[in-house]
Assembly symmetry: C2
Homo-oligomer: 129 residues x 2
Amino acid sequence: MTADWLEQIKWNERGLVPAIAQEVGSGKVLMVAWMNREALSLTATSGKAVYWSRSRNRLWRKGEESGNEQIVQELRTDCDNDVILIQVEQIGGIACHTGRHNCFFRRLEDGGFRDIEPQLKDPDTIYGG
Amino acid sequence: MTADWLEQIKWNERGLVPAIAQEVGSGKVLMVAWMNREALSLTATSGKAVYWSRSRNRLWRKGEESGNEQIVQELRTDCDNDVILIQVEQIGGIACHTGRHNCFFRRLEDGGFRDIEPQLKDPDTIYGG
């Protein structure tokens, strides 16, 4: 937990950093979530994405309920050390809690956001209703 | 400035939202910066990326000094409406102020971050020294 590289990250005032998960192969941006120091450390050591859930105020092992884990192939930070970018293999092909492949399914068109990606699975069946 | 779609965005306590710029074609994540309401509105209407500079506390028309503008081809938000993802054509091939193609040039390897992307241009020559 005191690894030098963790000290290099510029944690925000809440001790968090945003993390982008990008899918290996497709290059699609799947989702953005937050990591605290422990989540980032666990992500690096376990090879699976672990985030910090701000709504539940606890570690969130991606896929812990849905089974849709993210296998981490690469971990980067940016020039300011204040954003994390991970390359992941998305187990189950579904990253979004709405049952879609990724969270960025709302495109600006004609002055409004339109949902343009198919729902692959009913969220109720993902999370056991 | 009062467009409905701008009202759908969940602005943070500072009135900002993180915006990811992804390169059309390569799919590479170029950078992450912040937008306020005006920056996002201008991005949509001008077709060029406009951010909010937290360090300079003013609008930042990407490329205003370097010439390395970002032409926006698509604008999306995510399931929570709290992150923006734009697909851009990166003019000049350099998104990062360090003179690299993109900002995510620091990869975690052997317990430390290593700079693994070439510097394409000396920052002094980008910004006039």
